[in-house]
């Protein structure tokens, strides 16, 4: 007896649910729920760095075989090899031994040096800075000025006074109030977070002006890193060198 009663109830309820209007409403409701579930799947698209004038370098491998950690038994436990970079022909030059150092460091054959752990500390070739790999070399007049704005909106190099006054030497972890580093480091996740839209305008050894944006150290230039072991260092960066010697850095 009880059973039939409850079944009746149930059928009546089903009827009610399946009544045409309500059915429409129900389908609508469910499809909205599902579509919100699906449409949320928008992936962040990495912006293109090509503007026709600048040079964009993607995933330039740094010294991926070194390790400075204890307990990393298999990897070579040694400091990371420095690599140098030359803007004019995109050449990467490795400094692996004393012979390499003697051959390249005190020369004008390079513009940038990627040094330190994970090659994350970047220098512009400079003869006067004691910590600079190019110390005592020919690059006597180089300087860096920092801008916090969009790469494309940095259209002109500043006056020489400003270059001369700039004290920026190493570009690495932005670890203090006046630091001009190119990344933040999370003590919580131990991951590097690049500072977006931080542009370095450089006076090069040959007197030409350039602008540089260091974009990422992680492979594939992900917007956010979600794996502590995400492969690094793989450098993504872009730059523009004004060949005519003027201060015009417009790349649009």
């Amino acid at each position: 007896m009880k059973t039939t009663k409850s079944r009746c109830w149930c059928l009546r309820y089903l009827n009610w649910l399946l009544d045409a209007d309500r059915r429409l409403f129900l389908y609508l409701f469910i499809s909205i729920l599902f579509s919100t579930g699906c449409s949320k799947n928008n992936e962040e698209i990495t912006p293109g760095y090509e503007d026709g004038k600048s040079t964009a370098i993607y995933d330039l491998a740094g010294d991926t075989n070194a390790s400075m950690s204890d307990g990393v038994d298999g990897k070579e436990k040694r400091p990371f090899y420095i690599f140098l970079y030359r803007f004019s022909d995109k050449r990467q030059i490795w400094i692996r031994n004393a012979a390499d150092s003697a051959r390249y460091l005190k020369t004008g054959e390079w513009d940038l040096a990627f040094t330190g752990p994970y090659n994350s500390e970047v220098y512009v070739n400079n003869a006067n800075d004691e910590s600079n790999p190019g110390y005592g070399g020919p690059a006597t007049n180089t300087a860096i000025v920092r801008y916090d704005q969009l790469y494309s909106s940095v259209t002109e190099a500043p006056a020489d006074d400003i270059f001369n006054q700039s004290e920026i030497s190493k570009i690495g972890w932005s670890s203090g109030p006046n630091s001009s580093g190119w990344f933040n480091y999370s003590l919580n996740t131990h991951l590097v977070v690049p500072i977006k839209n931080r542009i370095y305008v450089i006076r090069l050894a040959d007197g030409k002006y350039a602008k540089l944006e260091l974009i990422n150290v992680y492979k594939g230039n992900p917007p956010t890193v979600s794996d502590l072991n995400w492969p690094a260092p793989y450098y993504t960066f872009r730059y523009f060198v004004q060949q005519d010697g003027s201060k015009n850095l417009n790349t649009q």
């Binding site: 729920l33 307990g71 999370s186 594939g220 072991n229």
Partner: protein, 781 residues
């Protein structure tokens, strides 16, 4: 303690060993005299479970003569309890009338006090709100692992702790992260955490009778670690008749979940035994196809769990039992980014074993002595495809625990209390030698029914920790029922957590960016030694003095909770609650010195305060018999007050608010602070459960919503603001269908989870769509 057991043995009169059996027959009906089918009967002290027949009748044979407590519970009715005497050679007859109760429609019910033979303390002794998940619900949802069940509960999220590595996944409860939520099995603490997180996916839900979740400080019951709450897993007890279950599920991601379970009484019903074994396999899943070209982000794993329990009645009112559980997980996860591929190996095993003796004296005093041992072992290594090895770790933790519990009831006052101690040892390759920890505790909890409208619940626990001295944690709850349809509850409680080994003894140097972290207990001597050796360029006097004077204090929390339950009719129930958790002395790392080589040296210090506050609402609607619709919602604000202070005082880098899209930097205001990482402001769920008895069909449909939550600080000001990286809000849809055939012997089930296949690479632990088919066979008479 051994003397105590010996004494107990002498006390047993030998006469009880004679064959003196009787039986019990009865019928359950409602206020209108109609039979109630499917009510659950529990007979104590044996703790026999029994489901009533369709005509409301039940029968239990082969009972030893003596006085039993019979409890009857059924959804929609008030729980019933009475004592009954069984006389040898006679059949005792009983008729039980259940009264309708509007308050038990929801599974969340404080009246739900199933007595367990191996634990006199129930989560419901806590003044804090308790959610109970029943075995029925777990079975109907078709969940396999504990995390799957919990992530669908209101106010609970399963969170990946990226900082803790690939495998650090834990539960978040009302804004408390996993390290503040204690996990217990049958009321005994489980150990084994990775970066503070307890990965609940290592626990199979096979053999779980029910899960109790205490939301809010529960240190008054469980001591340190239960600062933000506790999750107590209650394993299955034996039954009256021999029965067994064999079940297998298979489907997406090559998930296999196979279970064998058997239970039987023995020695003419004096004893009972329960054994179960489970195998679970998953291939894992990759949510990050865009960047991760091979392998998975959710680890593949093979899991083996076996569990057993034996209980034996030594005398009329004395029983003893042992139980054990062993879980083993083996996992090798590959993660590949183009040619850079590494394997993350992990083996973990945990063993839990306990023995107890439960006696009830003539005056009604119940005593329970129990011993518990648990051991956890973790082995992990990272191996790159070019043969190089990444981080490796080995970690062992074990706990020995002895406890004596008492329960006593005088008229309207029921009291529970206990005393005990534990010894914890640990061995961690990365931390070096760790001294063992000793902890003693004593607690009491009382429940007092003053009038029909007013109930008081309160008590406290005193913990003595060899390194941190004594700490008393009280709690108090008041329940007031002004009208039949309305209940108010107010609760206050406190909790604490002693600093862990890492915070005390760690020496960690990160060469990547050049800094060192020193555990607080060793920082002082290390720093002084470094200073004397001329290795420090700067010693921060403020932080160093604080470290020297105060040392590292235990973290503390105070919880306030107000709940109103309204049941306008038997079909509806609405519950609203407001919670406020005030956390003091939260431990965080601070810079204490700078070395001459420019390395920064950090140690741990207590932060002033963190607040989690919010609202929880639930609505339950039962329009038809067997149909349950419920809606849950949580609003949460979780903020670190010291961030606001730092913004106000203008400390670097807190005063910076940088818009990464333009490179502009503004001055921060306190209103720019969004809250703590991984906490969603809004979380909601909708659940529809339908059980159509005549066809033995069960259906569930569940929608879970998690609002957007912060992933990391992207603009370098050490706090979360609107410009930082957030994980988008999302909906997950789950459903299941179950049909029982052959007189309920055979059950066929199809479950579908994450039907819309929603994933985000910032949620590495989220599986895509999973569809499984399952078949379960139950052996019973």
């Amino acid at each position: 303690m051994y003397k105590f057991y010996l004494l107990m043995l002498y006390l047993f009169p030998l006469t009880v060993f004679c064959q003196t059996k009787g039986s019990l027959q009865g019928v359950i009906y409602d206020e209108e005299g109609r039979a109630i089918a499917a009510a659950t009967i529990t007979l104590n002290p044996d703790n026999h479970f029994l489901e009533v027949e369709e005509d409301g009748s039940f029968q239990i044979a082969d009972l030893y003569a003596g006085v039993y407590t019979l409890a009857v519970s059924h959804m929609g009715y008030k729980n019933y309890e009475q004592s009954i005497e069984i006389t040898a050679g006679q059949i005792a007859q009983i008729k039980i009338k259940l009264q309708k109760d509007t308050h038990t429609l929801n599974e969340v019910s404080v009246n739900d006090k199933l007595v367990q033979s191996d634990n006199l303390i129930s989560a419901t002794n806590s003044a804090m709100p308790v959610t109970v998940i029943s075995r029925k619900q777990i079975e109907l949802m078709g969940s396999r692992r504990l995390d799957e069940i919990l992530k669908e509960q209101t106010g609970i999220a399963i969170v990946n702790n990226i900082a803790g590595g690939n495998r650090s996944v834990g539960v978040q409860l009302q804004g408390f992260s996993s390290e503040y939520v204690m996990i217990l099995i049958d009321g005994q603490p489980m150990v084994g955490r990775n970066g503070g997180s307890f990965d609940l996916s290592r626990i199979s839900v096979t053999n779980i009778e029910r899960i109790e979740i205490i939301k809010g400080a529960a240190s008054c019951l469980f001591g340190s670690e239960a600062m933000g709450g506790a999750i107590n897993i209650i394993t299955r007890h034996g039954a009256l008749q021999p029965q067994g279950v064999a079940s297998i599920r298979y489907g997406s991601l090559k998930i296999v979940d196979a279970t064998l379970e058997g239970e039987t009484p023995f020695a003419a019903n004096r004893g009972e035994a329960n054994l179960s074994a489970n195998f679970y396999h998953t291939d894992g899943f990759n949510v990050n196809n865009r960047y991760q070209t091979s392998g998975t982000t959710v680890p593949p794993s093979d899991n083996y769990t076996s569990q057993g329990r034996v209980r034996y009645r030594l005398a009329k009112s004395t029983s003893a039992g042992i139980s054990g559980r062993y879980g083993l997980r083996k996992s090798v996860m590959t993660r590949g980014y183009g040619n850079d591929i590494y394997k993350d190996h992990m083996d973990e095993a945990d063993l839990n074993a306990s023995a107890y003796l439960n006696s009830t004296y003539k005056n009604g005093l119940q005593s329970l002595s129990r011993f518990y041992f648990t051991h956890y072992n973790w082995d992990s290594k990272i191996e790159w495809n070019n043969g190089t090895l990444g981080e490796q770790n080995n970690f062992l933790q074990s706990v020995f625990r002895l406890e004596q519990q008492f329960a006593y009831r005088i008229a309207a006052l029921s009291l529970t209390g206990g005393i005990g101690g534990l010894l914890e040892t640990m061995n961690d390759r990365s931390l070096g030698d760790i001294p063992s920890m000793k902890n003693g505790f004593v607690y009491t909890q009382g429940e007092w029914q003053l009038t029909d409208q007013l109930q008081l619940l309160g008590g406290g626990r005193y913990d003595y920790h060899a390194n941190y001295g004594g700490r008393f944690n009280p709690n108090l709850g008041v329940t007031y029922i002004p009208a039949a349809f309305l209940t108010f509850k107010a609760a206050i409680g406190s909790g604490f957590k002693t600093p862990d080994f890492r915070q005390r003894f760690q020496v960690f140097t990160n060469p990547l960016v050049g800094y060192t972290v020193l555990g607080a207990d060793i920082a002082r001597t290390q720093l002084l030694a470094m200073r004397d050796a001329g290795q420090l360029s700067e010693l921060r006097n403020y932080t160093f003095n604080k470290l020297q004077q105060d040392g590292l204090q235990a973290e503390q929390s105070n919880t306030f909770n107000l709940t109103a339950t309204i049941s306008p009719s038997s079909k509806w129930q609405v519950e609203l609650s407001a919670f406020y958790h005030h956390i003091k002395n939260q431990i965080n790392s601070f810079q204490v010195a700078t070395a001459t080589d420019g390395q920064m040296i950090y140690s741990y210090l207590n932060l002033p305060k963190v607040n989690n506050k919010g609202l929880e609402a639930s609505v339950s609607y039962k329009p038809l018999p067997g149909l349950d619709v419920s809606l849950g919602y949580q609003y949460l604000l979780s903020k670190d007050q010291s961030v606001k202070d730092s913004i106000r005082t203008g400390n670097w880098p807190y005063y910076n608010l940088r818009n990464p899209a333009t490179g502009e930097t503004f001055r921060s205001k306190t209103a720019d602070y969004w809250g703590l990482e991984n906490r969603s402001r809004h979380m909601a769920n909708l659940r529809i459960f339908y059980n159509y008895k005549p066809w033995d069909v069960g259906l569930t449909f569940r929608v879970n919503y998690r609002g957007k939550y912060p992933f990391e600080d992207a603009n370098g000001n050490y706090y979360i603001d609107r410009y930082d990286t957030f994980v988008n809000g999302f909906f997950l849809f789950n459903a299941s269908v179950e049909k029982k055939i052959f007189k309920k012997h055979l059950a066929l089930q199809i479950t579908a989870e994450n039907i819309a296949d929603y994933t985000d690479y910032l949620m590495p632990g989220q599986l895509g769509r999973v569809v499984l088919a399952g078949i379960t066979y139950r052996f019973f008479k």
